[in-house]
Amino acid sequence: MIIRQVSVIFFLSLLLAIGGCSSNKTKGGENGAMGSDGIEDGAPIDVGEDDYSSSGLDDDGSLILDPLDDPASDLFVRTIYFDYDSANIREDSLLIVREHGKYLSSSPERLVRLEGHADERGTREYNLALGEERAKSVREVLLLEGAQEEQVEIVSFGEERPAVEGTDDAALQLNRRVEVVY
């Protein structure tokens, strides 16, 4: 828990620093000057063409530091696991789901798709329904934390798209899940 708090503080300060960067950058104009990030203004740095879509940089060339991508954040956990024939969210997963709910509540422009899955045991049609029940359980918590209905889409794949192949208990557990897809 302490580690988590530390990482949140670290993350916040990083955000502030980046905020500073981008405002500098704006002043620096459009000539590719990097401002206060340690590289001299006017240095010929090849940042590729203006396509930042897959570079991890935003339109201004800043690193995109979405809290969703912080490995230390609960939001980094995007798979919620379930018990056999159950759509109840486990105690340990509840915190994570709530964090996603808070995030959605504070980021109303964000949309999320909850993909419900089941392991291969039992019938395919029942598992289709079970996958949806699981996704609905997650949605319920998201809405309780302030997410809006329009932000959350649910879909069930039943047992049709397993995360892993295999029939042992470990594989079955990995397949009983809801994937949180932003």
Partner: protein
């Protein structure tokens, strides 16, 4: 030239014998209740066709579970000319019925098949005919002969000429191919009705035996389609928000029961095929799915977890409160109703895993028919004599048929692909 021809014949006979061996018949329990029947070697001048004819009829009658096909070495006559049956000798070895067949060349590509069925107890010829057919239609003719023999000996209409629909899955994780296929009831002659890179589910025959309803993930969510298997004509019949699944045609073909979740949770709805109007049949916050009609159309059976775990319930077509049908164990799902309405086959969880169970509704008695670890999707033959289902075998999924008394099981292992979710067609109209 003649020698080459002979070699070729030998090779083909071996090949067809090999294909015959792929149909693994497994007798799981004693044979005391089965009628002892003899099938003499098929006579004639076309050995390939003779072998095929014999193997098809043999495996049809054998896997029905109604007959015990007696080993040829016990036959008092190895070949029987028309009405030359030595009745006392046959009765001495305890055989009750005798089928003789003959396949002779009838010109290029044609073969004449003659068959006789003798009742060895009443000492008379109860069936006999001859038919000329194209060689490539011989399987069909063989299944028809099986149908006639079956009906004559049991009083029940034979279902060997019907078809099965099922889903096949091929390919690796990178690129999978899912196909809706139909095949003869013994798994032979598969042909593809629809192919997709996305999952297909739950094929269900219309009572006309021409159309199939099924679930497709082609748009990355469940939607229900209906396709005419003869013309290929295809239409989307349900694409509500949430789940669209488990279609089941009413016996009169006017309605399709399906599972929809747009109302908040999965419930059974009745879709009027003509008007496309929807009516909600079940209403519960739990899961209701996998509808199956009683043959008179008065009831809809379905799976529900309203008691906490999946069990089979039934509700009147008009609605009302559902009645719980299964109490054995804590997982009963995917009901299929027999043609007489007296039995429900289902997936039943037991110590070995998920097997196929059978409930006798009148007597309220339950019986486990199979001992697989992951048996799924039971579907009754239209005459109620057998149930087809999918089962795990050697890291793959294959189709199996079990006689309704659980005595005989036969794996249909005819293709490399994983095959599952069989649906047995109705009788042709």
């Amino acid at each position: 030239m003649k020698r080459i021809y002979k070699l070729l014949v030998l090779a083909i006979v071996l090949l067809s014998t090999n294909a015959y061996a792929l149909l693994e018949i497994e007798i799981t329990q004693g044979v005391e209740s089965a009628m002892p029947v003899a099938i003499t070697p098929v006579a004639g001048d076309v050995p390939i066709q003779a072998t095929l004819l014999e193997s098809v009829v043999f495996s049809d009658l054998h896997r029905s579970g109604y007959f015990s096909i007696i080993d040829k070495k016990n036959y008092p006559q190895q070949s029987v000319e028309l009405d030359q049956v030595d009745y006392p000798k046959w009765r001495n070895v305890g055989i009750e019925a005798l089928l003789t067949m003959k396949a002779t060349s009838a010109g290029e590509d044609k073969v004449r098949v003659q068959f006789e069925l003798y009742d060895l107890v009443r000492k008379n010829r109860v069936l006999g005919h001859s038919v000329t057919t194209n060689k490539n239609q011989l399987r069909k003719v063989a299944h028809k002969i099986s149908d006639l023999v079956f009906e004559k000996l049991t009083g029940i209409k034979g279902a060997f000429s019907t078809r099965i629909a099922y889903i096949s899955e091929a390919g690796s994780n990178k690129g999978k191919k899912y196909q809706l296929q139909i095949a003869d009831a013994d798994g032979y002659h598969p042909r593809t009705v629809f192919s997709s890179s996305k999952q297909l589910l739950s094929p269900a025959w219309a009572p006309d035996g021409r159309r199939l309803a099924y679930v497709s993930f082609e748009n990355d969510r469940t939607e229900i389609f209906v396709q005419d298997v003869t013309t290929g004509k295809r239409s989307k019949i349900s694409s509500e928000p949430g789940i669209n699944s488990a279609p089941a045609w009413s016996p009169d073909g006017a309605s399709i029961a399906l599972t929809l979740s747009f109302g908040g949770d999965p419930d059974i709805y009745i879709l009027d095929v003509e008007s496309r109007k929807l009516r909600k049949l079940t209403d519960h916050y739990g899961i209701d799915t996998e509808a199956a009609w009683s043959p008179d159309g008065r009831f809809v059976y379905f799976t529900s977890n309203r008691s906490g775990a999946p069990q089979i319930y039934r509700v009147s077509f008009g609605g009302g409160s559902p009645k719980r049908m299964t109490f054995e164990g804590n997982y009963n799902a995917a009901p299929s109703v027999s043609a007489d309405g007296n039995f429900i086959a289902m997936v039943h969880k037991n110590d070995a895993g998920y097997g196929i169970g059978l409930l006798d509704i009148e007597r309220n008695s339950f019986k486990l028919l199979t001992d697989g670890t992951l048996d799924e999707a039971p579907s009754f033959a239209p005459n109620g004599s057998m149930i087809i289902y999918s089962t795990r075998h050697n890291n793959s999924t294959v189709l199996s048929a079990v006689s309704s008394d659980g005595r005989v099981r036969q794996r249909l292992r005819l293709q490399k692909e994983k095959v599952r979710e069989p649906s047995w067609s109705p009788f042709r109209r």
